[in-house]
């Protein structure tokens, strides 16, 4: 068991395995995306209150879920990298950062597009919106720090620390923002004021969530492979791969 992990964590082996996994995961991602979009945009019934504009949740909600999930992955991978000095975990951690930032951005933009017809405004200082915005800043901080440090090994370790500090802070920030909003009590807006979501609308949403996870896995593996090549460019196996050895 341990030797398996050890082998898996070696960059060369990972490069090979990831290369084989990407087409399969990519195909699965494509199928689930198409199925989810078809069920969500065509089959699912029109909402009695929101009309067809509610259908943006099939993009908005999965990306909001992913934005938090990826931050957790980033921090956990970073912690693994720091504690056991596993290079691959560092690579996974930093490769996740910009994907997570993109999902956060998508969640904010789609939320804003949905908010205009529903709430009549592009932006409200609602607790959820605000904490998502802060999450985006946290991601951008990680990316900026990584780009600023020249030695990429040091950079990955520094961003791991930052990601862990961020994870400790995310619940604090989340609740502080929530209480801040209730204290100030602005225009009361709740996202899902309907009692619960209907099954015919829920199933496409869950399929889309799976599709987004698969998409993340595919892009993460691609980015991690690039990063592995860049870091190992002076080793024998990479030179052989490039045909320069």
């Amino acid at each position: 068991m341990f030797t398996f992990f050890h082998k898996m964590a070696s960059p060369k082996y990972f490069y090979g395995i990831a290369g084989k996994l990407i087409p399969w995961l990519g195909a699965a991602c494509l199928i689930t995306t198409l199925a989810g979009l078809y069920l969500g945009l065509v089959v699912a019934p029109t909402d009695y209150q929101q009309g067809d504009s509610y259908r943006i949740i099939y993009v908005h909600v999965p990306s909001a879920w992913m934005s938090l999930f990826i931050y957790m992955v980033m921090a956990i991978a970073g912690a693994i990298g720091l504690i056991w000095h596993i290079k691959l975990a560092e690579i996974i951690s930093i490769s996740s950062a910009s994907i997570g930032a993109s999902f956060t951005f998508i969640a904010l933009v789609t939320g804003s597009i949905w908010g205009k017809p529903m709430w009549g405004t592009w932006w409200v200082w609602d607790a959820r919106l605000t904490s998502e915005l802060i999450l985006l800043f946290l991601y951008l901080g990680v990316i900026a720090l990584y780009n600023a440090v020249e030695d990429k090994r040091t950079a990955a370790r520094a961003t791991s620390i930052l990601a862990i500090v961020g994870v400790v802070n995310i619940p604090i920030i989340h609740y502080s923002v929530e209480w801040w909003n209730t204290l100030h009590q602005g225009p009361t807006v709740t996202k899902f004021d309907a009692p619960s979501i209907d099954t015919s609308m829920l199933i496409p949403l869950l399929i889309m969530a799976v599709a987004f996870k698969l998409y993340y896995a595919v892009v993460l593996l691609m980015r991690a492979r690039c990063e592995v090549l860049a870091r190992e460019r002076n080793t024998q196996w990479v030179k052989k791969l490039a045909g320069t050895a």
């Binding site: 800043f137 720090l145 600023a148 620390i161 802070n169 100030h184």
Partner: protein, 227 residues
Amino acid sequence: MSTASLPHAFQALLKRDLTLAVRHRAEIANTLLFFVLVTALFPLGIGPDPAVLKTVGPGIIWVAALLAALLSLDAVFRSDFEDGTLEQIMMSPHPLSVLMLAKVLAHWLITGLPLLVVAPLLGMFLGLPGIEIKTLMITLALGTPVLSMIGAIGVALTVGLRRGGMILSLLVLPLYIPVLIFSASAVNAAGAGLSISGHLSLLTALLMLSISLSPVATASALRISLN
């Protein structure tokens, strides 16, 4: 060679940083001046209406305190990093996190505590009533150490960088948000005659959490930066 005990080392580091600060008094004054200036800009920007200023006052003073803390952060490790003192500190046999606590404590005494002294003056500038000024001082006393603690992590991560300043603000400001929210709303609540014990408990919890965790994070960040 005999080594000094941990409390002794803590004390020595604290004393050294305070002595250095007293010898460079102008730096302390700069932070304070910045704090006052930023606060004075707001009435110029939003108009002199006393009713408006009274509502936004606590927020303004806290945002100004946040920015002043941010501006002063670079000084925590900068000169020690440049003259090699930081490496000497890291080579000491004592746990680095405890020594970092001493450094951050010194930094707060130099830059955070003076803010507390000037805050009532700014409160009067903005026409805050007495109860709000009192609450403002309590929240500053509880909140500014948290700012120094969290900030030290950011500085430790960026100390080796040539243009660390901009990145530092990007790293640290989002983490300052809870302190800002609890403090400013405590002052507003006090002004409205509501109980503030909840806010103060949360601020104290943040303070305890940052005292216990942030020196560890600062120490490991520093080890990575000075690798």
